[in-house]
Symmetry: C2
Amino acid sequence: MNLTRKEFLFLSGKVAAGVTMGRSLSSLAMTGAAEDIRNLPVVRKIHEHIAREKEKHIVNVQADLRQPSVSSWNMGINEMAERMIDSFRALGCKEAELVPTDGLPGIWAYYDAGAPKTIVIYMMYDTQPWEKKRWSVDPLSATRMPKPPFPEVIIGRGAVNDKGPNRFFLNTCESILAVNSRLPVNLMFTCDGEEEQGSPHFHQVLDRYASRLKTANAELNVVPTQDAEGQVAMFLGVKGILEFELEASGARWGKGPQKQPIHSGAKAILDSPAWRLVDALRSMYDPLTNRILIDGFYDAIRPPNDEEEAMLGQLIRQSGSQLLEEQKKNARSWINGWSDAEAMRHFLFDTTVNINGIWSGYTGTGAATIVPEKATAKIDFRLVPNQDVSTQQKLVEEHLRKKGFGDLEYRPIGGGDEWSQTSVHEALVQSLLAVYRANHVEPAVWPRMPASTPEAQYTRKLGLPAVRGGMGHGGNEHVDDEYIVIEGTDKVAGIVQAEQSIVDLLFTYAQT
Amino acid sequence: MNLTRKEFLFLSGKVAAGVTMGRSLSSLAMTGAAEDIRNLPVVRKIHEHIAREKEKHIVNVQADLRQPSVSSWNMGINEMAERMIDSFRALGCKEAELVPTDGLPGIWAYYDAGAPKTIVIYMMYDTQPWEKKRWSVDPLSATRMPKPPFPEVIIGRGAVNDKGPNRFFLNTCESILAVNSRLPVNLMFTCDGEEEQGSPHFHQVLDRYASRLKTANAELNVVPTQDAEGQVAMFLGVKGILEFELEASGARWGKGPQKQPIHSGAKAILDSPAWRLVDALRSMYDPLTNRILIDGFYDAIRPPNDEEEAMLGQLIRQSGSQLLEEQKKNARSWINGWSDAEAMRHFLFDTTVNINGIWSGYTGTGAATIVPEKATAKIDFRLVPNQDVSTQQKLVEEHLRKKGFGDLEYRPIGGGDEWSQTSVHEALVQSLLAVYRANHVEPAVWPRMPASTPEAQYTRKLGLPAVRGGMGHGGNEHVDDEYIVIEGTDKVAGIVQAEQSIVDLLFTYAQT
């Protein structure tokens, strides 16, 4: 999933942190299944192999991190893609190929285990760029060092987002094959070289293999979701997103300054695109009542179903005050003075409209008195089942037209990810829950993330259940000194435990 | 007057351009007076002296331009001030001194002619900085070259804004004294070294000499106001300005993100300072009806008096379509579809509220989905008689409090220039009108500029009439290749005609 790192940081680092899971959701989990799996001789041998090969696995991660793959600089993308393809071939994938798109290429690979179950794996292989001088080591050095409380981490661009975790997965497959000669499931690898650009062409990769992908049983995105205290999360869905720029300009309006700013003395006789944007924005939303004022915008929403209510109840019962503590690092109160329980409900189930950015005219220090010739805002609406992007977009555009703002330019941003929802009863979800239990970590099970990814391309377009989760921990995505934990603590998985948990997951799922 | 160059450009270059003046205002002008003056033998001799000394006068201008005086770089200010003080002493000023302020120094100088009339002269001696690589010659070279349709101009920083015109005035005084041994009026020079910073401390200069300044008869600011076609303007007042930044922040509000932006998924549970700013702004003004919604904001306005109505009528009768043509370079229609005549009335007499700039959150390309922790706008209200800055500011702040926006931070920008108004019947105004007539150029007489300067410090604080105007032409203030015309056309004054018109003005005024 091309979840932006900002989204990931927010959800895994902040929101998921401090959330624990009690008994009331236990009935939903395959208690014991993963523990049994861990006692299988073959799985024990694989675990041992991973422990034995730890140094080699670390070196594999370092080698990937030393190959830059910065999509925004178009640096090393093809070389990194070749490394991935070579790895897929080395695993025994008979198909492993670059997939051209209108942008940077994706990758498709297929490992045929002759198994009854097939999992689609999402991987992104590009990274953010860097500002070298802000790093304490070369961002391409993949330096091993202590980072308290962790005895050892690797620092380097892509360490946790996502080249490190990708290699954990491939290391795991290698170890399974060293012991068992076959993976327990078939794997379809779908890799994205433009995640950091918002995955603008990833749908072209999936479309090409759609008929194959539809035959799979589930989609899985394995990333480290433990926080520094070891708590772990899993996510069964996302909200949709309708994102766009809205621009008022004198030129399109036929009023106000046409080509460039004009002295603000002229405000007496000329209309102002900045005031027009303010007016248009305010017409869509009332901040005081927290209501979206667009006719019909709430109509498509279905109420939370019983399962979602159950998960909400669980999150509220177990996590309330801890969630609040985490969020309160950057907040003092919820909208309308909601209680934690009320806030959690709105967090999961509300559609929203937000101003991500707004700009117009002079924004430097001191004075410049001008009527700006245009004004722009970046807006996002988050959508919940069953609000679809195209329908909600029509309602927004209709609203603007009806209110007389038809001249404002509506410029879409991104592809408009749809909402996605997978049931907790799906076998892959149950398998991951069981693996968490077997590893003695209690997950926060989020019916959905209040964030957006292209997950719906797997779920609603291809009909697969999807889950995102995994053991391990890393940080500083997108910024300097990005790291992934190699040697963990008693609560946080290092590379060995993280890879072992992937073994557990694949074997547990294979038996469902 | 520390009129910003943006304001000057707008008014002299755009608005004043194309405005001619017909007979109906003739009754107000001292027709003939200046023509008589030009026929005086002493004035003829001075004119001849100026023509003879043209080369020396040009060299004087070049010398000033080669001495940098960039207030924002604190470069050469003291050296330039010393040049000015030396020049005042050379004229025979017994007082000529640097005036310390809390910022860069001003200058005070007094020339005692033993004459019955005393004029206060405003001069700014600092300049804008420059981007050397954008210039076609060194900005400190004061290069003489043709610039069609003008046979010769000087290019250099400060050429027209205002170091060139200052030296024209000083050259003129020199020539008068070469022929006549005494100036026809006493002169109080008040010089500003921080005009390009918005004259934040200039009131400290004037306050120090307030008792002396009050004994003067008028304040004069001589700058070239001819456009490239020769049309000339004069301004008898300004609007006041109430300028401030308004900032909504989570920290002050106690709601929304407190310290930094947060993922926009959190909009479901956190309030948004950006939406709050939009709401607060919209509460102050209705763009559709063009009404300020602040209780009492219009109460202090007095209707235009007979004189102002007469000048308005004149501007409408003579200039309507030409004004429209000029403005239409950057506009297609006036607010509410006003006719030109209606627009001119509102231009002169309306109070306004404008968004000079607004910014919040992510303003780069593509997507970043955040709830910004703060949002800021730069606002200006233009004020007309009798709206005073402090009263109107109280109304704004009261409005924000009453509407529940008391937590928004109100940060004043600039000193808050008050409105200023001088009657067309004042002798200095009449004298300038007569000089324009004698030079066969027809002025647009603006009862006030729809812009703001500290002129009220001379008029309403010190009780002096004030006028701003002058022959000559220059351009590219604040940008590259700033120039002043040295050799003009049949319509535009060069250095000789511009200086001669200053002689005419001082002698005409002396005889009133």
